[in-house]
């Protein structure tokens, strides 16, 4: 058996594939590509795989990770090319290798948030102090201070957009970047019905280094 990990992009229309549907879409891609996947035992055999850090529907990613069990003993030749030939539009495998680092060492996600042009300085200033918001998770709702989840945060005006680059907590108690937008909307720094675009740009370890490289 070989435990494989690959890094993939999800852009354009494929950003709207939800987490659950993405599992299915990837499984079908593996089958189309003839990848020697491992099936679970039991009544309803399924392909043994996991998407390492879930992503919200509608977000793009440049760096998501998928772990996959194969029945062969080594990395299959041409894995990346074969899979890329059969992926849904907008999805692309960047590189693949052995899943050699445990997932629990993931600590942060980096994001870009593309906002309508606004006052970048004021936006940055908002997060210099405590920002309390109600955060929803599987365990329920509770008020949190966003600062506790933000590792790094910058705002810059670029063309007709304001670009927010941030590093946010991942792991057990992650922060969805939409809370930053929500905070900006609550204070009027971004208009209520404005549309934001979210792109995950990195999955990072404790030292803010890329968690898994080729």
């Amino acid at each position: 058996m070989f435990k494989l990990r690959f890094c993939f992009e999800k852009n354009g229309t494929s950003a709207y594939i939800s987490h659950l549907d993405l599992m299915k879409a990837l499984q079908r891609s593996f089958v189309r590509a003839g990848i020697p996947v491992k099936y679970s035992q039991g009544f309803n055999p399924h392909i043994e795989m996991s998407i390492v850090v879930p992503l919200s529907t509608g977000y793009e990613t440049r760096c998501d990770l998928c772990d996959l069990d194969l029945v062969c003993d080594d990395m299959p030749e041409n894995f990346v090319e074969d899979l890329n030939a059969v992926m849904p539009r907008g999805m692309k495998v960047l590189h693949a290798g052995a899943a050699d680092r445990p997932v629990r060492e993931i600590a942060y996600s980096a994001y870009e948030i593309v906002l309508p042009a606004g006052d970048a300085l004021a936006m940055k200033a908002l997060f210099d102090g405590p920002v309390t918001l109600e955060k929803r998770s599987k365990r329920g709702r509770r008020d949190v201070n966003l600062q506790d989840y933000i590792k790094e945060l910058t705002f810059a005006n670029e063309g007709d957009k304001t670009l927010c680059r941030c590093i946010l907590a991942a792991g057990n108690d992650p922060l969805n970047p939409m809370y930053l937008t929500q905070a900006l909307k609550n204070t009027g720094l971004v208009e209520e019905d404005a549309t934001a675009k979210y792109i995950r740009t990195g999955i990072l370890d404790e030292n803010c280094e890329i968690f898994w490289k080729k």
Partner: protein, 610 residues
């Protein structure tokens, strides 16, 4: 996808329905395309993407040089609201371009309750709804699908309607469209020529006159249009186009699997069933063809299930050979077979077990009526013993759930027939107690009861639907008798069936009602939570149309029917003789026992594959 669409998507449920980009979706270089076709399905994505005919046409049109066929589905209410608010017109999923700019918009009419969906999509596209208000050749708005055997209520909205199977007629139509457009001909000139293609019905070339009592006086063709438009069929299904790729959705749909089509037509002749008559003659594909098609589809899609579809799959002459071949090939690949539409009297346990190795939950049978007498009337040639025998085998093998489908309001139905339903249910329970392998698990019976809708081009096309009062009374009878432990049942809403009946035997005067109903907010009427019966009733009263005239009236034997100029091949005379047999309570043996000369073979020659 533009920014407006993206903004819409931020506020809607299941946005992946509106993005395109699925695997096998076809993208073409616009500079290499001279004919853009929008395949419009007037229901939600999850329904439309499950429909086999659409996949065939999508593949076929895209296989034509210079033609780009894209898809559009009816948006759900939340998406429609966003689109209207943001001024985003209906767009094709592949390119994101507004479908109003396309050459041709092709709608499929699967179900009467989708009719307002057509109007809503045209409106969202910014295309005038009535054919007469579209003066230019472009965009041409056309339709096809099972409802066309009487699509008169929609006649005012379409420029032309194709009757029957599309594999041959669609390329012919595309080529004619191109030729006329390139020659600078007018829409009228094009339509006149199109009417000369077999299976093409141009509603505007027929004048309908009415008698004082409201019935049709005459249907008069003009400009050389044929007096009767006969449906088109493919003679040899093995040679017919079949796609090697289906678009693989990136979100849940109703039937998320590959499909092969075993045969067209049905030898049984149930008298209420429109498809049973309009899909004739019976033409089967060879098992080798089907196996190749299934293998190609699985390889190209990655699906883990293939469904063997047809009107009655257990009637396929080579079913065992086919299944053996498919199981041998697919089992090692973790690909399951699904065999819907099995009949209880040709139920094959080995087969059912062989293909459903995993789950032993679902058995589905459709006795349709509660007594043998009534089953003879409707020609559902299924004996209760056969049903119980099938249940016995299945229970002994470990099955413990049964779904049973019936109808109420069938012609000549009495309370005894209704009570017969609960008798069958009790007999199924008794069979379980006697033969079940594992009695402790208990038996779950699910009874689904729909209300009979007389359909055009069937032996029952002359008959009326029961009234609302009578439906309510019969429902009471059923509810009381079906209050049995271990049994759940659902009885279809009369209101929906009533409207279906109005439209199924309606004429062109209903176009105004449909338009009014749409104005009053009716859309997605097939979804119970959206169905607004009061709005429909208001639409009837606003337009001065009496719905009961269409739904509940019995037609005279010699009456001109609004759909007399459309032929499925089966003759009116044959249908009437079947009605007379029904009235006498005499069943007609199925076609396997011998051809009854229904007329369908006049379309193809040869004989039926039974």
């Amino acid at each position: 996808m533009n920014d407006t669409i993206r903004a819409c998507l931020e506020h809607v449920r299941k946005p992946a329905r509106y993005t395109g980009g699925e695997y096998n979706a076809v993208y073409k270089d616009k500079s290499q395309v001279d004919l853009r076709f929008a395949f419009c399905f007037p229901d939600l994505y999850e329904i439309g993407m499950s429909h086999l005919g659409s996949k065939i046409l999508y593949g076929l049109l895209n296989s034509m040089e210079g033609v780009w066929c894209e898809r559009a589905y009816a948006p759900f209410l939340d998406m429609e609201e966003q689109m209207r608010k943001r001024g985003q017109p209906l767009y094709a999923l592949e390119s994101g371009d507004p479908v109003g700019e396309f050459d041709i918009l092709g709608f499929t009419l699967q179900y009467e309750m989708n009719y307002t969906g057509v109007l809503n999509m045209l409106d969202l596209a910014g295309v005038p709804k009535r054919a007469a208000d579209r003066k230019e050749l472009k965009p041409l708005v056309i339709a096809g699908g099972p409802c066309v055997y009487n699509a008169e209520p929609m006649a005012d909205f379409f420029d032309l309607i194709t009757i029957g199977e599309g594999e041959e007629v669609m390329p012919e139509l595309m080529n004619l469209y191109r030729a006329c457009r390139d020659a600078g001909e007018s829409k009228a000139e094009f339509l006149k020529k199109a009417a000369q293609i077999g299976g093409v019905y141009v509603p505007s070339l027929y004048e309908i006159t009415y008698k004082e009592d409201g019935t049709v006086a005459a249907i008069t063709p003009r400009d050389g249009a044929p007096a009767v438009v006969r449906k088109r069929v493919v003679k040899d299904l093995d040679k017919a186009y079949y796609p090697e790729k289906f678009v693989v959705p990136s979100t849940d749909i109703v039937f998320d699997r590959a499909m092969i089509e075993l045969f067209r037509g049905c030898r049984r002749g149930c008298r209420f069933c429109q498809a049973g008559y309009t899909y004739r003659p019976i033409r089967a594909r060879q098992p080798e063809t089907l196996k190749k098609q299934a293998e190609a589809l699985i390889a190209n899609t990655g699906w883990d299930e293939v469904s063997l579809t047809s009107l009655s799959s257990s009637d396929y002459p080579h079913l065992e050979t086919l299944c053996e071949g498919l199981v041998a090939k697919f089992e090692p690949m973790h690909v399951n077979l699904a065999l819907p539409s099995m009949r209880a009297d040709s139920f094959n346990l080995d087969l059912a077990q062989n293909i459903q190795k995993v789950r032993k939950s679902g058995l589905t049978f459709a006795p349709e009526a509660g007594t043998q007498r009534l089953r003879d009337v409707i020609n559902k040639n299924l004996q209760e013993e056969d049903l119980l025998e099938a249940c016995k085998l299945a229970f002994a093998a470990g099955y413990n759930g049964v779904k049973l489908y019936f109808m109420m309001g069938l012609p000549t139905e009495t309370d005894e027939d209704l009570l017969g339903i609960s008798k069958i249910v009790r007999n199924v329970q008794r069979t379980f107690r006697e033969y079940a392998k594992n009695k402790a698990r208990g038996l779950r019976i699910n009874v689904g009861i729909s209300i009979f809708v007389p359909k055009a081009q069937t032996p029952f096309q002359w008959l009326g639907q029961i009234s609302a009062e009578e439906a309510a009374r019969r429902k009471e009878v059923l509810m009381e008798s079906l209050n049995i432990k271990g049994v759940t049942y659902s009885i279809h809403e009369y209101k929906t069936s009533f409207l279906e009946a109005v439209l199924a035997r309606g004429d062109r005067r209903l176009s105004a009602v449909l338009e009014r109903a749409w104005q009053l907010g009716c859309r997605l009427d097939g979804w119970e939570e959206n169905f607004n019966f009061d709005a429909w009733m208001q639409a009837f009263s606003d337009t001065g149309v009496d719905p009961a005239f269409y739904a509940n009236r019995e037609l005279a034997p010699d009456e001109v029917m609004a759909w007399d100029h459309i032929s499925s091949g089966v003759t009116k005379c044959y249908l009437y003789s079947e009605l007379e047999q029904a009235r006498k309570g005499i069943a007609t043996p199925d076609c396997k026992a011998g051809c009854r000369n229904c007329g369908a073979l006049s379309l193809t020659g040869g004989k039926c594959d039974v």
